[in-house]
Symmetry: C2
Subunit: 190 residues, 2 copies
Protein backbone atom coordinates (compact mmCIF):
# COMPACT_ATOMS: atom_id res chain seq x y z
CA UNK A 1 0.00 0.00 0.00
CA UNK A 2 1.09 3.55 -0.56
CA UNK A 3 0.37 6.05 2.19
CA UNK A 4 -0.62 9.60 1.33
CA UNK A 5 2.63 11.25 2.43
CA UNK A 6 5.00 8.37 2.39
CA UNK A 7 6.55 6.61 -0.50
CA UNK A 8 8.82 3.68 -0.85
CA UNK A 9 9.61 2.61 -4.33
CA UNK A 10 11.65 -0.25 -5.50
CA UNK A 11 11.98 -0.51 -9.19
CA UNK A 12 13.64 -3.44 -10.75
CA UNK A 13 13.71 -3.43 -14.51
CA UNK A 14 15.81 -6.09 -16.08
CA UNK A 15 16.02 -6.27 -19.82
CA UNK A 16 17.25 -9.76 -20.47
CA UNK A 17 19.96 -10.26 -23.01
CA UNK A 18 18.57 -10.84 -26.42
CA UNK A 19 19.72 -10.98 -29.97
CA UNK A 20 17.74 -9.23 -32.59
CA UNK A 21 18.61 -8.23 -36.11
CA UNK A 22 17.08 -5.13 -37.56
CA UNK A 23 14.90 -6.11 -40.42
CA UNK A 24 12.87 -3.96 -42.74
CA UNK A 25 9.73 -5.36 -41.20
CA UNK A 26 10.38 -3.62 -37.88
CA UNK A 27 9.16 -0.40 -39.50
CA UNK A 28 5.70 -1.78 -39.99
CA UNK A 29 3.13 -1.41 -37.23
CA UNK A 30 1.07 -4.18 -38.78
CA UNK A 31 0.92 -7.15 -36.50
CA UNK A 32 2.58 -5.43 -33.57
CA UNK A 33 0.89 -6.30 -30.28
CA UNK A 34 -0.59 -3.39 -28.32
CA UNK A 35 1.44 -4.37 -25.23
CA UNK A 36 5.08 -4.86 -26.12
CA UNK A 37 7.98 -6.21 -24.06
CA UNK A 38 10.69 -3.53 -24.15
CA UNK A 39 13.35 -6.26 -23.96
CA UNK A 40 12.15 -7.57 -27.32
CA UNK A 41 12.13 -4.25 -29.17
CA UNK A 42 14.85 -3.57 -31.75
CA UNK A 43 17.91 -1.80 -30.38
CA UNK A 44 20.95 -0.55 -32.22
CA UNK A 45 23.72 2.03 -31.92
CA UNK A 46 23.03 3.45 -35.40
CA UNK A 47 26.74 3.85 -36.05
CA UNK A 48 27.30 5.84 -32.87
CA UNK A 49 29.86 4.16 -30.64
CA UNK A 50 28.80 3.54 -27.06
CA UNK A 51 25.11 4.20 -27.70
CA UNK A 52 22.19 1.84 -27.40
CA UNK A 53 18.86 3.21 -28.60
CA UNK A 54 15.40 1.65 -28.39
CA UNK A 55 12.31 3.44 -29.65
CA UNK A 56 9.86 2.40 -26.93
CA UNK A 57 6.91 4.20 -28.50
CA UNK A 58 7.46 5.95 -31.77
CA UNK A 59 6.02 8.03 -34.52
CA UNK A 60 7.21 6.08 -37.54
CA UNK A 61 7.20 2.75 -35.71
CA UNK A 62 3.90 2.93 -33.84
CA UNK A 63 1.95 5.72 -35.45
CA UNK A 64 2.14 8.27 -32.63
CA UNK A 65 1.79 11.87 -33.71
CA UNK A 66 2.34 13.90 -30.54
CA UNK A 67 4.82 12.11 -28.29
CA UNK A 68 7.66 9.64 -28.62
CA UNK A 69 9.60 7.67 -25.99
CA UNK A 70 13.14 6.33 -26.23
CA UNK A 71 15.30 4.20 -23.95
CA UNK A 72 18.96 5.07 -24.40
CA UNK A 73 22.13 3.78 -22.78
CA UNK A 74 25.42 5.64 -23.01
CA UNK A 75 28.62 3.73 -22.27
CA UNK A 76 31.20 5.59 -20.13
CA UNK A 77 32.61 8.52 -22.08
CA UNK A 78 29.91 8.50 -24.78
CA UNK A 79 27.60 11.42 -25.46
CA UNK A 80 25.04 13.00 -27.70
CA UNK A 81 26.14 15.58 -30.27
CA UNK A 82 25.83 19.25 -29.30
CA UNK A 83 22.38 19.95 -30.68
CA UNK A 84 19.01 21.69 -30.46
CA UNK A 85 15.44 20.99 -31.57
CA UNK A 86 12.16 22.85 -31.45
CA UNK A 87 10.27 20.11 -29.64
CA UNK A 88 10.01 19.64 -25.90
CA UNK A 89 12.21 16.96 -24.34
CA UNK A 90 12.02 15.35 -20.91
CA UNK A 91 14.65 13.01 -19.45
CA UNK A 92 14.25 10.48 -16.66
CA UNK A 93 17.63 9.09 -15.54
CA UNK A 94 17.19 5.41 -14.77
CA UNK A 95 20.78 4.43 -14.05
CA UNK A 96 24.22 5.97 -13.75
CA UNK A 97 25.19 9.61 -13.77
CA UNK A 98 26.68 12.20 -16.07
CA UNK A 99 26.62 15.81 -17.14
CA UNK A 100 24.05 17.89 -18.99
CA UNK A 101 25.57 20.81 -20.87
CA UNK A 102 22.99 23.47 -21.65
CA UNK A 103 23.22 26.82 -23.42
CA UNK A 104 20.51 29.32 -24.19
CA UNK A 105 19.41 30.06 -27.75
CA UNK A 106 19.26 33.81 -27.11
CA UNK A 107 22.67 34.78 -28.54
CA UNK A 108 24.25 34.28 -31.97
CA UNK A 109 25.99 31.12 -30.84
CA UNK A 110 25.51 28.88 -27.78
CA UNK A 111 28.69 29.99 -25.96
CA UNK A 112 29.97 28.35 -22.81
CA UNK A 113 27.25 25.99 -21.56
CA UNK A 114 25.99 25.59 -18.01
CA UNK A 115 26.95 22.23 -16.49
CA UNK A 116 24.36 20.24 -14.56
CA UNK A 117 25.09 17.01 -12.71
CA UNK A 118 22.51 14.36 -13.59
CA UNK A 119 22.02 11.20 -11.55
CA UNK A 120 19.93 8.07 -11.13
CA UNK A 121 16.32 8.91 -10.33
CA UNK A 122 16.63 12.51 -11.48
CA UNK A 123 14.61 14.25 -14.16
CA UNK A 124 15.11 17.36 -16.25
CA UNK A 125 13.70 18.92 -19.37
CA UNK A 126 15.33 20.86 -22.18
CA UNK A 127 13.79 24.25 -22.95
CA UNK A 128 12.66 24.39 -26.59
CA UNK A 129 15.54 25.30 -28.93
CA UNK A 130 18.16 25.48 -26.16
CA UNK A 131 21.43 23.89 -27.26
CA UNK A 132 22.43 20.88 -25.18
CA UNK A 133 24.53 17.78 -24.85
CA UNK A 134 24.18 14.78 -22.54
CA UNK A 135 27.51 13.16 -21.67
CA UNK A 136 28.22 10.05 -19.61
CA UNK A 137 31.08 11.54 -17.62
CA UNK A 138 31.04 8.63 -15.18
CA UNK A 139 33.95 6.36 -16.10
CA UNK A 140 32.60 3.33 -14.31
CA UNK A 141 28.95 2.93 -15.21
CA UNK A 142 26.52 3.14 -18.11
CA UNK A 143 24.15 6.08 -18.15
CA UNK A 144 20.61 4.96 -18.95
CA UNK A 145 17.81 7.41 -19.66
CA UNK A 146 14.22 7.44 -20.78
CA UNK A 147 13.71 10.30 -23.21
CA UNK A 148 10.36 11.80 -24.10
CA UNK A 149 9.97 14.20 -27.01
CA UNK A 150 6.98 16.03 -28.42
CA UNK A 151 6.03 16.48 -32.07
CA UNK A 152 7.88 13.48 -33.54
CA UNK A 153 9.72 12.54 -35.66
CA UNK A 154 12.55 14.64 -34.28
CA UNK A 155 14.42 17.20 -36.37
CA UNK A 156 17.85 17.93 -34.92
CA UNK A 157 20.26 20.80 -35.59
CA UNK A 158 23.83 19.72 -34.84
CA UNK A 159 26.77 21.94 -33.76
CA UNK A 160 30.45 21.12 -34.17
CA UNK A 161 31.30 23.10 -31.05
CA UNK A 162 29.77 25.57 -28.62
CA UNK A 163 31.02 28.60 -30.56
CA UNK A 164 29.31 27.66 -33.84
CA UNK A 165 26.60 30.21 -34.78
CA UNK A 166 23.04 28.90 -34.57
CA UNK A 167 22.63 29.65 -38.26
CA UNK A 168 25.51 27.30 -39.13
CA UNK A 169 24.13 24.29 -37.25
CA UNK A 170 23.31 21.44 -39.61
CA UNK A 171 19.88 19.84 -39.84
CA UNK A 172 19.92 16.06 -39.42
CA UNK A 173 16.56 14.75 -40.58
CA UNK A 174 15.47 12.04 -40.49
CA UNK A 175 17.47 11.28 -37.35
CA UNK A 176 19.55 8.11 -37.00
CA UNK A 177 16.87 5.75 -35.67
CA UNK A 178 14.16 7.16 -37.92
CA UNK A 179 16.19 7.01 -41.12
CA UNK A 180 15.33 3.50 -42.26
CA UNK A 181 11.63 3.69 -41.43
CA UNK A 182 11.32 7.18 -42.88
CA UNK A 183 12.64 5.95 -46.21
CA UNK A 184 10.35 2.93 -46.14
CA UNK A 185 7.31 5.09 -45.43
CA UNK A 186 8.31 7.30 -48.35
CA UNK A 187 8.44 4.23 -50.61
CA UNK A 188 5.05 3.16 -49.37
CA UNK A 189 3.56 6.35 -50.70
CA UNK A 190 4.80 5.81 -54.25
CA UNK B 1 29.67 -1.28 -23.11
CA UNK B 2 26.66 -2.03 -25.22
CA UNK B 3 27.15 -4.19 -28.30
CA UNK B 4 25.21 -3.50 -31.47
CA UNK B 5 22.92 -6.52 -31.28
CA UNK B 6 23.12 -7.45 -27.65
CA UNK B 7 21.65 -5.78 -24.70
CA UNK B 8 21.79 -6.38 -21.01
CA UNK B 9 20.06 -3.86 -18.85
CA UNK B 10 19.87 -3.70 -15.15
CA UNK B 11 17.84 -0.86 -13.83
CA UNK B 12 17.67 -0.15 -10.18
CA UNK B 13 15.58 2.85 -9.25
CA UNK B 14 14.95 3.25 -5.58
CA UNK B 15 12.86 6.15 -4.41
CA UNK B 16 13.80 6.44 -0.77
CA UNK B 17 11.04 6.92 1.75
CA UNK B 18 10.34 10.55 2.35
CA UNK B 19 7.78 12.71 3.96
CA UNK B 20 6.55 15.72 2.12
CA UNK B 21 3.53 17.88 2.67
CA UNK B 22 1.87 19.50 -0.29
CA UNK B 23 2.19 23.22 0.06
CA UNK B 24 0.88 25.94 -2.17
CA UNK B 25 4.44 26.79 -3.14
CA UNK B 26 4.86 23.52 -5.01
CA UNK B 27 2.82 25.05 -7.83
CA UNK B 28 5.44 27.67 -8.53
CA UNK B 29 8.27 26.90 -10.92
CA UNK B 30 10.27 29.77 -9.46
CA UNK B 31 13.35 28.49 -7.73
CA UNK B 32 12.96 24.91 -8.93
CA UNK B 33 16.28 23.40 -9.96
CA UNK B 34 16.55 22.27 -13.58
CA UNK B 35 17.59 18.77 -12.47
CA UNK B 36 15.21 17.41 -9.84
CA UNK B 37 15.41 14.30 -7.69
CA UNK B 38 12.18 12.37 -8.32
CA UNK B 39 12.28 11.08 -4.74
CA UNK B 40 11.92 14.66 -3.51
CA UNK B 41 8.98 15.64 -5.69
CA UNK B 42 5.53 16.02 -4.09
CA UNK B 43 3.42 12.87 -4.15
CA UNK B 44 -0.13 12.35 -3.05
CA UNK B 45 -3.13 10.12 -3.65
CA UNK B 46 -5.46 13.08 -4.28
CA UNK B 47 -8.26 11.36 -2.40
CA UNK B 48 -8.01 8.21 -4.49
CA UNK B 49 -7.33 5.19 -2.32
CA UNK B 50 -4.37 3.04 -3.28
CA UNK B 51 -2.90 5.60 -5.69
CA UNK B 52 0.39 7.43 -5.47
CA UNK B 53 0.91 10.12 -8.10
CA UNK B 54 4.01 12.22 -8.81
CA UNK B 55 4.11 14.75 -11.62
CA UNK B 56 7.67 14.17 -12.81
CA UNK B 57 7.53 16.88 -15.48
CA UNK B 58 4.38 18.91 -15.76
CA UNK B 59 2.51 21.62 -17.51
CA UNK B 60 1.28 23.63 -14.54
CA UNK B 61 4.24 22.67 -12.37
CA UNK B 62 7.12 23.08 -14.78
CA UNK B 63 5.78 25.08 -17.68
CA UNK B 64 5.72 22.34 -20.31
CA UNK B 65 3.23 22.85 -23.11
CA UNK B 66 3.46 19.69 -25.22
CA UNK B 67 4.26 16.72 -22.98
CA UNK B 68 3.83 15.71 -19.36
CA UNK B 69 5.27 12.78 -17.40
CA UNK B 70 3.81 11.11 -14.30
CA UNK B 71 5.02 8.35 -12.00
CA UNK B 72 2.07 6.43 -10.58
CA UNK B 73 1.83 3.49 -8.20
CA UNK B 74 -1.35 1.46 -7.83
CA UNK B 75 -1.75 -0.71 -4.73
CA UNK B 76 -3.18 -4.21 -5.34
CA UNK B 77 -6.82 -3.90 -6.41
CA UNK B 78 -6.68 -0.19 -7.18
CA UNK B 79 -7.38 1.26 -10.60
CA UNK B 80 -8.01 4.30 -12.73
CA UNK B 81 -11.58 5.32 -13.54
CA UNK B 82 -13.00 4.16 -16.86
CA UNK B 83 -12.10 7.17 -18.97
CA UNK B 84 -11.01 8.70 -22.27
CA UNK B 85 -9.08 11.77 -23.40
CA UNK B 86 -8.15 13.30 -26.71
CA UNK B 87 -4.41 13.39 -26.01
CA UNK B 88 -1.94 10.64 -26.72
CA UNK B 89 -0.81 8.52 -23.78
CA UNK B 90 2.13 6.13 -23.46
CA UNK B 91 2.72 3.79 -20.50
CA UNK B 92 5.97 2.19 -19.42
CA UNK B 93 5.38 -0.46 -16.74
CA UNK B 94 8.22 -0.26 -14.23
CA UNK B 95 7.04 -2.79 -11.67
CA UNK B 96 4.25 -5.28 -11.07
CA UNK B 97 1.54 -6.38 -13.43
CA UNK B 98 -2.12 -5.80 -14.11
CA UNK B 99 -4.77 -5.46 -16.75
CA UNK B 100 -5.48 -2.82 -19.35
CA UNK B 101 -9.13 -2.64 -20.37
CA UNK B 102 -9.57 -0.92 -23.71
CA UNK B 103 -12.64 -0.15 -25.82
CA UNK B 104 -12.92 1.67 -29.10
CA UNK B 105 -14.66 5.02 -29.41
CA UNK B 106 -16.41 4.04 -32.62
CA UNK B 107 -19.79 3.03 -31.17
CA UNK B 108 -22.31 4.93 -29.04
CA UNK B 109 -20.89 3.48 -25.82
CA UNK B 110 -17.63 1.66 -25.09
CA UNK B 111 -19.16 -1.81 -24.68
CA UNK B 112 -17.23 -4.82 -23.47
CA UNK B 113 -13.54 -3.87 -23.41
CA UNK B 114 -10.60 -5.89 -24.65
CA UNK B 115 -8.38 -7.16 -21.83
CA UNK B 116 -4.61 -6.88 -22.15
CA UNK B 117 -2.14 -8.29 -19.64
CA UNK B 118 0.47 -5.67 -18.73
CA UNK B 119 3.72 -6.54 -17.00
CA UNK B 120 7.02 -5.18 -15.75
CA UNK B 121 9.13 -3.82 -18.60
CA UNK B 122 6.21 -3.63 -21.01
CA UNK B 123 4.94 -0.59 -22.85
CA UNK B 124 1.67 0.31 -24.53
CA UNK B 125 -0.12 3.39 -25.76
CA UNK B 126 -3.76 4.38 -25.70
CA UNK B 127 -5.24 5.38 -29.05
CA UNK B 128 -6.66 8.92 -28.89
CA UNK B 129 -10.20 8.96 -27.44
CA UNK B 130 -10.35 5.21 -26.83
CA UNK B 131 -11.97 4.40 -23.49
CA UNK B 132 -9.67 2.63 -21.06
CA UNK B 133 -8.92 1.61 -17.52
CA UNK B 134 -5.69 0.41 -15.90
CA UNK B 135 -6.25 -1.97 -13.00
CA UNK B 136 -3.73 -3.55 -10.65
CA UNK B 137 -5.22 -7.03 -10.77
CA UNK B 138 -2.14 -8.51 -9.08
CA UNK B 139 -3.05 -9.14 -5.44
CA UNK B 140 0.51 -9.30 -4.22
CA UNK B 141 2.41 -6.40 -5.69
CA UNK B 142 2.14 -2.70 -6.45
CA UNK B 143 1.83 -1.73 -10.11
CA UNK B 144 4.16 1.14 -10.95
CA UNK B 145 3.99 2.97 -14.26
CA UNK B 146 5.51 5.96 -15.98
CA UNK B 147 2.80 7.76 -17.92
CA UNK B 148 3.44 10.19 -20.75
CA UNK B 149 0.67 12.36 -22.13
CA UNK B 150 0.61 14.97 -24.88
CA UNK B 151 -1.09 18.37 -24.84
CA UNK B 152 -1.24 18.91 -21.07
CA UNK B 153 -2.96 19.68 -18.78
CA UNK B 154 -5.11 16.58 -19.24
CA UNK B 155 -8.88 16.78 -19.74
CA UNK B 156 -10.56 13.51 -18.79
CA UNK B 157 -14.05 12.20 -19.58
CA UNK B 158 -15.13 9.68 -16.95
CA UNK B 159 -17.58 6.78 -17.37
CA UNK B 160 -19.52 5.07 -14.59
CA UNK B 161 -19.49 1.78 -16.47
CA UNK B 162 -18.69 0.36 -19.90
CA UNK B 163 -22.27 0.72 -21.13
CA UNK B 164 -22.50 4.47 -20.52
CA UNK B 165 -22.89 6.42 -23.79
CA UNK B 166 -19.88 8.52 -24.76
CA UNK B 167 -22.10 11.60 -24.65
CA UNK B 168 -22.92 10.94 -20.98
CA UNK B 169 -19.30 10.72 -19.82
CA UNK B 170 -18.45 13.54 -17.42
CA UNK B 171 -15.58 15.96 -17.98
CA UNK B 172 -13.18 16.16 -15.05
CA UNK B 173 -11.04 19.26 -15.54
CA UNK B 174 -8.76 20.24 -14.02
CA UNK B 175 -7.79 16.70 -13.09
CA UNK B 176 -6.98 15.68 -9.50
CA UNK B 177 -3.28 16.54 -9.44
CA UNK B 178 -3.72 19.70 -11.50
CA UNK B 179 -6.58 21.11 -9.46
CA UNK B 180 -4.64 23.06 -6.86
CA UNK B 181 -2.07 24.51 -9.26
CA UNK B 182 -4.72 25.31 -11.86
CA UNK B 183 -6.63 27.42 -9.35
CA UNK B 184 -3.44 29.16 -8.24
CA UNK B 185 -2.48 29.98 -11.82
CA UNK B 186 -5.97 31.41 -12.33
CA UNK B 187 -5.46 33.65 -9.30
CA UNK B 188 -2.12 34.76 -10.65
CA UNK B 189 -3.81 36.14 -13.71
CA UNK B 190 -6.15 38.41 -11.76
Amino acid sequence: MVGPCFISFFLFLNLLPFFQTLEASHCSINGLPLVRNIAELPQDNYGRGGLSHITVAGSLLHGLKEVEVWLQTFAPGSRTPIHRHSCEEVFVVLKGSGTLYLASSSHKSPGKPEEHFIFSNSTFHIPVNDVHQVWNTNEHEDLQVLVIISRPPIKVFIYEDWSMPHTAAKLKFPYYWDEQCFQESQHDEL
